[in-house]
């Protein structure tokens, strides 16, 4: 007989695995989870919230810089993407980090179209990751509320 808790735990496990398989998360996220315990039960949620705030701010800076037609400050874009690459790397946001690498290359070669295309993609990817992590956290909450323990997922 499949209890509610067992069902939720299985959903949680499957969803977590798919996030890694789809390249949304990497080992760094696994490391973050290890730092979470009873003393800091919301550690991961807090860290990723800061990351998403960072995304919004940096993407907005870069969009504004790219909007200055004929007078784009590629150095400014470059330093913003460098920051974003660092923070995405530290939370394990693999797809975002990958796009930052490409964006940095476009910046260095002053490829305006490439920068615009890439930046739009960074925007989609971080918002998608945000929604997916929200789903994951909601699943965790449901498990806890049902009286179960959040399973350890080995990727």
């Amino acid at each position: 007989m499949d209890t509610l808790i067992a069902q939720l735990q299985r959903q949680f496990r499957d969803y977590t695995i798919s996030l890694y398989h789809q390249g949304f998360l990497d080992d760094q996220f696994t490391e973050l989870k290890k730092l979470q315990d009873e003393c800091s039960p919301d550690f991961v949620a807090e860290v990723v919230t800061l990351f998403f705030e960072d995304c919004e701010k940096l993407i907005s800076n870069m969009a504004r810089a790219l909007d200055q037609t004929g007078n784009v400050d590629f150095k400014l874009v470059g330093s913003s993407v460098h920051q974003l690459k660092g923070s995405s790397s530290s939370v394990g946001a693999k797809r975002v980090k990958g796009l930052c690498v490409t964006l940095k290359e476009c910046c260095d070669s002053q490829n305006f179209e490439g920068c615009v295309r890439c930046l739009q993609q960074v925007d989609i990817e971080y918002k998608t990751l945000k929604a997916k992590l929200q789903d994951l956290f909601n699943l965790e909450q449901q498990i806890v509320q049902a009286g179960g323990r959040i399973p350890q997922v080995d990727i």
């Binding site: 798919s18 398989h21 789809q22 390249g23 797809r95 990958g98 796009l99 490409t102 179209e113 490439g114 615009v116 295309r117 890439c118 739009q120 993609q121 989609i124 990817e125 998608t128």
Partner: protein, 130 residues
């Protein structure tokens, strides 16, 4: 006044609007991890959202869990029992594999490697057919 030739910037903007309005999603089916990652990057640069699966079975599971795709790019695993409503593009290693690939029922064949240019032409075709 001369008619202006459509620039890459204009083309890019049109593709972008298709993505935002219709959320163009592409599924990559390939058992090789580094190829999947490479194709992911290309698809992202072409402005679409990419999902990945190692094989047809995983692809079906993704679909059963609620994801749907406008386009499937499948490598080396195309076979005649595929039944999908999305456009399928088969990847082949050489031109002379293309006929076998088309006979398996794909909509288009591309010789590897996948490039941004090849993706752009496929996205154009998707736009026309929808």
């Amino acid at each position: 006044m001369r008619k202006k030739k459509e620039s890459r910037g204009d083309k890019m903007e049109k593709n972008m609007s298709m993505i935002y309005k219709k959320k163009l999603t592409v599924l990559i089916v390939d058992d090789d991890q580094s190829r999947r990652t490479l194709h992911l990057g290309i698809i992202q640069m072409a402005g679409a959202f990419a999902y990945m699966a190692r094989n047809a079975e995983e692809a079906v599971n993704l679909h059963r869990n609620g994801d749907s795709f406008n386009l499937i790019i499948i490598d080396n695993q195309w076979s005649s029992h595929m039944k999908v409503t999305s456009m399928i593009v088969g990847m082949t290693s050489r031109e002379d594999e293309n006929r076998a690939c088309m006979e398996a029922g794909v909509d288009h064949c591309l010789v590897k490697p996948l490039t941004f240019g090849k993706m752009a032409s496929i996205i154009d075709q998707l736009k026309c057919s929808s």
